[in-house]
């Protein structure tokens, strides 16, 4: 088991009332699998993902990465060395080229990265379908699908075992959506990564190894 959430609670305080987004949520994830978390808008799936990626902290409960509390690892350290995050709106640095965007996490991580970082970055981009001529363009000159591929390459750049993605195909057409899902499946099955994707799409959920349903703050297995 690479990642485990135990009894997570997350709420908003509304006067004397607590509005729970996640209530006593427990879930675990393994390497080599592609997971999806399904849910309606406002169901708390993005909140769950932000907790799993240490962009936010729960009010109670623990998240264990390789059996170690991520609080102990340190949120910043955890994000730097153990998790790759992919956002719906790509979140690339618009003034930098695709390859420069991929190079950024390589200089931030403490994981071992090859000395010739630029070659590695070009290879990663090539692997997910961005050729060199496009890799040298500033990212705002790329299509949405291409930008999302750059974001995936960036998430992989630090050689992490865990990839979390928040609605990664939300802004893409169906054809591009499938290409991105295929990449995730490949990362899980061929490269032994743990890929967790938050989505509201049943089609994507059907392609995952395991799917969870988040409803009213409660996470259940989606049979």
């Amino acid at each position: 088991m690479i990642l485990e959430a135990r009894d997570l609670n997350y709420y908003y305080q509304d006067g004397d009332m607590r509005r729970y987004i996640l209530k006593d949520t427990s879930v675990s994830f393994e390497k080599g699998k592609f997971y999806t978390i399904l849910g309606q808008s406002g169901s708390g799936k993005t909140t769950l993902l932000s907790l799993l990626s240490a962009l936010d902290s729960p009010h109670s409960g623990t998240i264990l990465f390789n059996d170690q509390d991520i609080k102990q690892i340190g949120y910043e350290n955890y994000r730097r060395n153990h998790v790759g995050i992919i956002f719906q709106s790509y979140n690339l640095i618009p003034t930098f080229t695709a390859v420069e965007n991929v190079l950024i996490p390589m200089s931030i991580t403490e994981n071992e990265v090859p000395e010739d970082q630029k070659t590695v970055a070009y290879n990663l981009l090539d692997y997910i379908g961005i050729v060199k001529s496009k890799a040298d363009r500033t990212v705002n000159k790329l299509s949405g699908g291409e930008q999302q591929r750059v974001a995936i390459a960036r998430a992989l750049a630090t050689n992490v075992e865990l990839i979390v993605a928040d609605e990664p195909t939300g802004n893409l057409d169906e054809e591009m959506e499938q290409e991105i899902i295929d990449i995730f499946k490949r990362l899980a099955h061929e490269h032994n990564k743990c890929v967790i994707v938050v989505t509201h799409s049943n089609e994507i959920a059907l392609q995952s190894d395991q799917s969870f349903l988040l409803r009213k703050g409660v996470l259940t297995a989606n049979e």
Binding site: T46, S50, S53, L55, N91, P105, S107, Q117
Partner: protein, 485 residues
């Protein structure tokens, strides 16, 4: 792609914003640069002029304080002389390089003539004129020579023994010696005559007289007046007559002659003798002169000495005169100080605001770095590099233009202020030949290493301070809110 490289790339990739920041920094930098240049110039002129004024200090009556007294208060003053003990106590302070104290008197002579410059007319006196200024010394090498007022051109200075024993030896000016065909080793005679004005007869008579025979041990020349002064030689001679007729002797000689004079005078003037009957008469009145290690020590020296002095005495330094003659420079200094403060505050606010606005536009970018696990310190470092590199370029450009601007402004302001300050000041203390014109001449906006260092220091520090508010903004960023909105 570490934060340093990202910072540099950020400058070149966002050219528009970098140029706006550069322009703002350049404009504000000119103000800071100009004000710094003027500040430096005023500091330089103060140091320069004070060096020229010398590191001299003396103790004398505080005439400004005495001027404030009423007639009744004047009557109640118990006048006290400054004695050798107090002078020596002050002379031992660490600020003092060496010191002297002088008792002076005027004597005449029947055997030698005073030096009168190029004036051909012979001035006739009834009896000998009191042309010779006897200056007693305690500092054997002669302080006036050490301080460049005069220089020994023949013979020698006094020995400690001669000073201590009050030997009958003297150093006179070469011009006085030449006029009287005297040389080192010769003797000459002064006369100490006591005059008494008889009110009943309305006549002045000599009631006592004695000769003072002195051996010449050295000759000096005056260095007081520069030869390049734009005056004719005759006028220079006239200004220098007092010094040419100065005769340096040990203090004891002057004390003896002063004592003789007063004792004889009291014998002649019964009325005066009655008025002072029973009072102890102190014939010793010294003018101390302290040479300090540096003109900059003047204020500290004065502060330490003032508590030791009797009432109505004060410390006068050669550099005190600076404030009286440095009007135009002082006003420039004050103006530039205010401009500097205002410019620094404006820079902090304006640059702070500009950087903050730029950062708000880049909120998402900063959130991305944080989501990738970058430390807030390095994100701050990246922004600092972006701002400081642009600031460095802007400051470097304004270094030259601001300096030129300061030169032009100073020139025009000096012309205006010169009219107001040039003349008419009342000054009690050292009278040297340094005037407001000298101060203005010495004022120069320079482009030296001190100016460059001070300006870069002030400029970059100001910019650094201006980024504090934006940096607080970065520290408060929440990547989840930024990226998952």
């Amino acid at each position: 792609m570490n934060f340093l490289k990202r910072g540099l790339l950020g400058i070149t990739r966002k050219k528009g914003k970098s140029l706006i920041l550069l322009a703002v920094i350049f404009v504000l930098g000119n103000l800071i640069s100009g004000a710094t240049a003027i500040q430096q110039a005023t500091v330089n002129v103060e140091t320069n002029i004070k060096e020229r004024m010398g590191a001299l200090a003396t103790i004398q009556y505080d005439y400004e304080e005495l001027d404030q007294l009423s007639e009744e208060e004047w009557m109640e003053i118990e006048w006290q002389n400054i004695g050798p003990d107090l002078i020596e106590q002050v002379g031992e302070l660490s600020y003092v390089k060496y010191y002297d104290y002088n008792m002076t008197n005027y004597l005449g002579s029947n055997s030698i003539e005073s030096y009168q410059g190029d004036v051909e007319e012979v001035v006739h006196h009834i009896g000998p004129s009191m042309d010779f200024y006897m200056k007693g010394i305690n500092y054997a090498p002669v302080l006036d020579f050490e301080e460049g007022k005069g220089q020994l051109v023949d013979g020698r200075v006094f020995t400690e023994e001669e000073v201590k024993n009050g030997s009958s030896v003297a150093i006179i000016s070469k011009k006085l010696a030449d006029r009287n065909n005297l040389q080192v080793g010769d003797n000459f005679t002064l006369v100490n005559e006591v005059y008494f004005w008889d009110y009943e007869t309305g006549e002045e008579e000599i009631v006592a007289s004695r000769d003072v025979v002195l051996e010449i041990i050295g000759l000096f020349e005056s260095l007081t007046l520069n030869e390049d002064m734009e005056m004719d030689d005759g006028f220079i001679d006239w200004m220098d007559l007092d010094y040419q007729n100065t005769i340096y002797v040990p203090n004891a000689i002057v004390i003896n002659e002063t004592e003789f004079y007063y004792e004889e005078y009291i014998k002649a003037d019964k009325e005066y003798a009655e008025s002072i009957a029973g009072e102890a008469i102190d014939y010793e009145y010294y003018e101390p002169m302290f040479v300090l290690n540096s003109p900059e020590d003047s204020e500290a020296f004065a502060e330490e000495v003032k508590p030791l002095l009797p009432q109505y005495y004060t410390v006068i330094s050669a550099t005190d005169q600076y404030d009286n003659i440095a009007g135009p420079v002082e006003s420039m200094s004050n103006l530039s100080k205010y401009v500097l403060i205002a410019a620094a505050i404006a820079t902090i606010l304006i640059i702070g605001l500009v950087v903050l606005l730029f950062l708000r536009d880049r909120k998402r970018e900063l959130g991305i770095y944080l989501s990738l696990g970058e430390s807030r310190g390095k994100v701050i470092g990246q922004i600092l590099i972006e701002v400081m590199v642009v600031a460095f370029v802007g400051i470097t450009l304004s270094l030259f233009s601001g300096n030129m601007m300061a030169g032009s402004i100073s020139e025009s302001m000096m012309k205006v202020d010169d009219q107001d300050y040039y003349h008419d000041y009342m000054y009690y203390g050292f009278n040297n030949d340094i005037t407001t014109e000298d101060v203005i001449d010495a004022y120069e906006v320079t482009f030296d290493s001190t100016y460059i260092l001070v300006f870069y220091g002030i400029g970059l520090l100001t910019i650094l301070l201006s980024t504090i508010i934006p940096l607080v903004y970065i520290v408060r960023l929440n990547p989840k809110k930024i990226l998952m909105e």
